[in-house]
Assembly symmetry: C2
């Protein structure tokens, strides 16, 4: 008897930011597989379930484990933070699925940090936007650099994932320099959010120049506005294009 | 007494794809404001609530209405499909908020069509991606064209919103031509999803060339892969970069 695998985007890590379908999938699972940080968060949301965790950087082992558990007839939920289809394990799972033609797989979407972080800051992604990761573990840096340049060329608002890590302390500074050299003005409206949806959520609005000195870590999502983005009453807003006559604009 | 406004992303339109926080916000609201199509969907999810609907293209009137209701002391939920912060009313609301300094506003994120549609197709956005709308109601076409070109230049996967409408029948064809002229190969892996999360969900994988003839409407979200995207067992997958030894790769 073959099982079934749900690849579940859990959002930032609390019940309120999970979808109903995601909650159902983990609640109904025989076993929940994930990176330790996320299985620990999930154990608070669905206590008493069976969890299997593997450490960071053991992603392929984690994927393979899901298929083995499903082959034994179990209903498996593989959990990823945010959306499993955004820098998550949905892609490697679907690549690996070629080895297990009898196992059914469903991808359950979740709120990715671009969208949850945007809501904390205001509405920085309310027009066309790009999502770019600065992690060069799996992507050569020149590809990342090319994408940052293209984002400025297209005047996209940008959500930046993985702006820093222990080994990559200066990557956000490098990115800021690339964006400015590509034509983004140093006073471009930007912002960043730490610990989205978790204890100690912290949001900051700043300019692109100030972003250079921002204190960011691997739990920070960074937003660079497009040329129209403004800070309004402490919120980062990329206009959709409507003409709005506020009192301010009459004065 | 001043009220409070929640700007709520309801996802594609069913309870399963809404977050817990979004469901709470509409459940606790005194009045739910939205475009008719979405208030009707929401009335099935939270029956018995008071709804105020305004027709399409009356977005600014709808926003203003929320503030008036809140000024009377009501707790208002303004609902948008997908994520209110992605081509939704979060931006105009936060711009208009300057007129109503005493009213509190919170943005509650939702699953936007890029992510819900990606999950239906597989994992087309599992690496850096762009979200681009082809609607030129509020954005000049040359800006849209420039963004499509930049997306190819950066080798982003692309989620395309509003690929067609009554007045813009050929916009997706124009977009395909721009992408190919910018260097995307005609056999680039693509896909599209109709009626995500609603009755009659329909998914199709195709090439960029075939996309030209795709039958799309205003309820379709289109995905153009990056240069690495492949169709694997009928699913559209943009690899994250892991090395995966499938049986296939051993053969």
């Amino acid at each position: 008897m073959e099982g079934m695998i749900y690849i579940v985007g859990m959002g930032p890590g609390n019940r309120g930011m999970m979808t109903g379908d995601a909650y159902e999938a983990v609640s109904a699972a025989d076993v929940i597989v994930g990176y330790t940080v996320y299985t620990e968060l999930m154990a608070k949301i669905v206590p008493g379930k069976k969890f299997v965790s593997t450490p960071m950087r053991h992603e392929i082992e984690r994927c393979r484990r899901c298929f083995e558990l499903a082959k034994e007839g179990r209903r498996v939920a593989l959990i990823c933070s945010g959306d499993a289809g955004v820098y998550g394990l949905a892609a490697p799972m679907l690549e690996m699925a070629a080895d297990y033609p009898d196992i059914d797989i469903a991808v359950v979407p979740g709120i990715t940090a671009a969208n949850s972080g945007a809501a904390v800051l205001g509405a920085p992604l309310c027009h066309d936007y790009c999502v770019i990761s600065l992690s060069d573990l799996l992507t050569p840096w020149p590809v990342i650099e090319r994408r940052l340049r293209a984002a400025v060329l297209g005047d996209f608002a940008i959500a930046i994932y993985n702006p820093s890590s222990h080994k990559r302390k200066d990557y956000l500074q490098r990115a800021c320099t690339i964006l400015i050299n590509a034509g983004a003005k140093p006073d471009r409206a930007c912002g960043y959010v730490k610990n989205i949806g978790r204890e100690g959520t912290l949001k900051t609005c700043c300019t692109l120049e100030e972003l250079w000195n921002a204190d960011v870590n691997m739990f920070t999502t960074v937003f660079v506005g497009n040329s129209q983005t403004r800070v309004i009453d402490g919120r980062l807003v990329t206009p959709r294009g409507y003409v709005i006559h506020t009192r301010e604009s009459y004065e």
